[in-house]
Symmetry: C2
Subunit: 220 residues, 2 copies
DNA sequence: TGGTATGTGTAACAGATGTTACACTTTTTG
DNA sequence: CAAAAAGTGTAACATCTGTTACACATACCA
């Protein structure tokens, strides 16, 4: 129900750039077979883990069994790097391999050492987390808009600020509905009403904004 | 409408610990009078700004005038430190002083230098951002639950995992409604239904969880 | 090319939440 | 202590969204 589409979630990644890591780095590599639970929600996160091969899914679970959200992560990407340094440094999710996977583990102390000795590593780490925060902020902003038309307006105005008043969205209604967290027919209804009201026009996947004022009013 | 209560937003802060900063740090201090716009949404963020005196409000605006959310920040706290290192390093909000304010400005290069030379500063910076991310993640999780009862259940189970099955919540219904992003009477209705259904009981501000299974089902 | 899968438009209906209003209770304050 | 303020319970009603169902269009594939 509240699944989070992987596409919307993890944007940036540590480049494969092994060059980032010095030869004397202390680390270990773990290999896991398919369908293995590698981190448990609530478990202490005392190292930086980077998925360098394979893919995993993270599930947010509610102490017994109900899922709240799923994210699929493909290599290469760090796993929950933001939590390594939080006061409550515990994994917020279960992590399970989807296929055979290889995980690089760098102990927290070593991460700190790397950060001070390798400015590029530090910048990369900071940038990754910053981008993630920005993504979360944006997502939060979108979710805190109550009405479907408001969400659509927010999204379209954002696109518009990047691509002008006419642009193509390479997503079908089902995907968009998932992104907004609403039902597909409800999205279709709202879209067609907005077209009828003359604030936008739609041709296939090409959207044209006709009345920015009107759109902004929908944000409430 | 979608106001974000300051209390829920910024938890951690750079301690006043001037000791974190070395004597040779290059910085500048800006003073602003009341009701001055000090950062504009979209403006480039090329330095770390720390509010050391006074208070400001941040408004998320939609290119012209409509508010999406307001956050009030009191000194001492950094202003949007997460965005300093993001690929799109622009302020996500307008920042306006509420009273006379004093802002410490540390250029990005200097921040990087500090991080490498002052491990404590680096840890503080990382921890702050990590906590912020964790907060945002949690908030996102809460907002992505659709039903009011689901939000309540999520919140109560979280409290319960920290304080056991009986605990006090020092917030009135109006505040809770704001936190959940719902209308106050709607919250009251949901709460009273949950009491009637016997999953919880409420005495003033003391909540008792009577049926955790039932609560988990409400998460959907 | 024809058939199948996928995507879209739309309608009827049910359910949940917001809005408004008001009585009542509790807390605060002078 | 009394009056005012703040907080709570509840009802009627409006509105929005989800659900389900189905017709139709479009894209894909053998």
């Amino acid at each position: 129900m509240t699944n989070i589409n992987p596409e919307w979630v993890g944007l940036n990644q540590f480049d494969e750039d092994k060059g980032l890591f010095p030869a004397d780095m202390s680390y270990s590599i773990q290999n896991y077979r398919k369908n293995i639970l590698i981190f448990r929600q609530g478990g202490v996160c005392d190292a930086l883990y980077i998925l360098i091969q394979g893919s995993v899914k993270t599930e947010m679970i509610t102490e017994n069994g109900n899922l709240l959200g799923i994210e699929i992560i493909k290599a290469p990407r760090p796993l929950a790097p933001a939590f390594l340094f939080s006061d409550n440094n515990r994994f917020p999710v279960d992590v399970t391999t989807l296929e055979d996977a290889e995980v690089l583990r760098i102990p927290k102390e070593e991460v700190i050492r790397l950060m001070t000795s390798q400015p590029d590593f530090m910048k990369q780490f900071l940038t990754h987390n910053a981008n993630r925060t920005q993504f979360l902020t944006n997502r939060l902003q979108l979710l805190s808009i109550k009405t479907i038309k408001g969400k659509i307006a927010h999204f379209l105005l954002e696109q518009s600020s990047e691509h002008g008043s006419k642009f193509v969205i390479n997503r079908n209604q089902t995907e968009l509905a998932g992104f907004f967290g609403v039902a597909r027919p409800s999205l279709a209804r709202s879209l067609s009403e907005m077209v009828q009201d003359g604030v936008i026009s739609i041709n296939k996947k090409e959207y044209t904004l006709l009345n920015n004022e009107g759109l902004r009013e929908l944000l409430l």
